[in-house]
C-alpha cells in the first residue's frame, strides 16, 4: 500500500510517508479503524530508516490522522480526512472554479474576486454569530 519514497527529491522521507498515508486514506485504501503496517516491517520493506517511519507516524498522530496504541501499533482515526472529504473538496473546487470563471468573464479582476470571496466569508461568519 505504501510505496518506496524517493530519497533524492529533497522532500524529507517522513513527509513523503505522511502524504502517502493520507492519500491511502483519501482513496479508501486505508479506512478508519484499520491498522497501519508496523514500523519495523515497513522500514525493512521500504529500506528506509526505522526512526524515519516512527517520526512519520508520530507526526500523523499529532495531526490526528492516526492513533498510536501502546504496543499494538498505529490505527487510522475516525477524524482522518476520508474519501468522502476528498470528494466534498473536489466538488467544492469545481463550484469555485465555475464561479471564478463567470466573474472573470464579467471583467472582475483577480484582486476583486479575492476581496469578494473574503467579504462573503466574513459576512457568513457574522450572520452565523448573530443567529
Amino acid at each position: 500500500m505504501l510505496l518506496k519514497p524517493n530519497p533524492s527529491s529533497g522532500v524529507p522521507i517522513y513527509l513523503q510517508l505522511m502524504e502517502q498515508v493520507k492519500h491511502a486514506i483519501e482513496t479508501g485504501a486505508l479506512r478508519p479503524g484499520e491498522q497501519l503496517p508496523g514500523i519495523r516491517p515497513l522500514a525493512e520493506e521500504l529500506v528506509v530508516n526505522p526512526n524515519t517511519v516512527a517520526k512519520a507516524y508520530r507526526e500523523l498522530e499529532h495531526e490526528g490522522v492516526v492513533e498510536l496504541r501502546q504496543g499494538a501499533g498505529a490505527f487510522v482515526t475516525d477524524k482522518a480526512p476520508t474519501k468522502k472529504d476528498a470528494d466534498k473538496l473536489r466538488a467544492g473546487q469545481a463550484a469555485v472554479a465555475a464561479a471564478v470563471e463567470k466573474l472573470r468573464a464579467r471583467g472582475v479582476t483577480e484582486d476583486e474576486i479575492r476581496r469578494l470571496f473574503e467579504a462573503e466569508l466574513a459576512r457568513n461568519v457574522e450572520e452565523r454569530r448573530s443567529r
Binding site: 530519497p7 526505522p50 526512526n51
Partner: protein, 308 residues
Amino acid sequence: MTDRAVIETAGLTKRYEEVEALRGLDLRVPSGSIFGFLGRNGAGKTTAIKVLLGMARPTSGDARVFGLSPAEARSGVEIRGRCAFVSDQKDLYNYMTVAEMIAFTRSFYPRWSAELEQKFLRRFELPPSREIHGLSRGMRTKLALLLALCRDAELLVLDEPTSGLDPAMAEDVLQALVGQVTARESTIFFSSHQLSEVEQIADHVAIIDRGQAVVSGALDDLRAQYQRIQLVFEGDAPEFKLHAPGTHRLQRRGRVVTILSSNGGAAVLDELRGYRPASIDVSPVTLKEIFLDSVRAAEGAESADKGH
C-alpha cells in the same frame, strides 16, 4: 533511539609527518542511529575511523566510543570487541572457502548468531564451497558484511559498504543494515559516496572536508534548514548584497536570481522582499546539493583568489 552518543569526538586532530589528516573533528553519533559519514576522497574519513577503532593515535583532541577512549590499550580492545568493522578493502583470507572463512570468524565471537548466518547466506546468495579468491567484488563485500552482521555487535562501522555493488546488490545490503537497526537496535556508522543511499537510510549525517566536519546533524533538520530560493524580477535583476547569515551561492542571470540558503530561509526572504521581486519560489534541496555546496564553500574560503 536515545540521546546517548555512541561515538563522540571533540577537536580531534591527526598529523602524519607533513599531512594534517584531521584538523579539529567534532562528531556526535547518537545511539540507534544510521549515521552517514560523507566527504571527498582524502577528506579524512578513513583516518577518523582508524582513530575511533584505536588503530591510529590522535595527535590531540578527544575521542570516545561507548564512552571509552580508543587510544588506551585496554579500552581499545573492548571497543574493537563490541564493534564490527568492515574496511574498504574487505579484508578476507583468499585461500579459504566461504564456509571456512565463516567458521574461522565465528570461533572468535561468543555472541555469533547462527540464525543470522543462515539468513544472510541465503539472502546474499553466497556459495559456501567457493574459494574467496574466486569471488566477485560484490560477493566479497557481501561476505565481509555477513561476517560483521552475524557478530551481533552494538556498533557497525562500515567503510563504503556498497562500493562496487550493482544497484540490486546495494539494495540488499541497505536492507540488511536497516534490518540490523530495527531488530538489534545497533548503531551504524558508515562512509559512502552514494549520496542517494545515504539519504535513503541515514537519519544523521556529517560531511567532512579537510579534516573538519563542515555540516552535521539530523538529516531532516538539514533539509529544513537548506532551501533554494529563486527570484524573478520584472526587468534585469538588481545588484545584490545580502547580509542575512547562511546565504550561499548567489547566482544572477538576467531577470532570475537563485540563492542557496542554509538558515531556514526566513531572514533571507525578509531581506529579499526589500528588492521587490515579481515572484519568490522556495524549493527543497537534495543532500547532493548540500554536499557540493559545503565542500565548495570550504574550497572557496581557502582559495578565494582563484575564482571560478
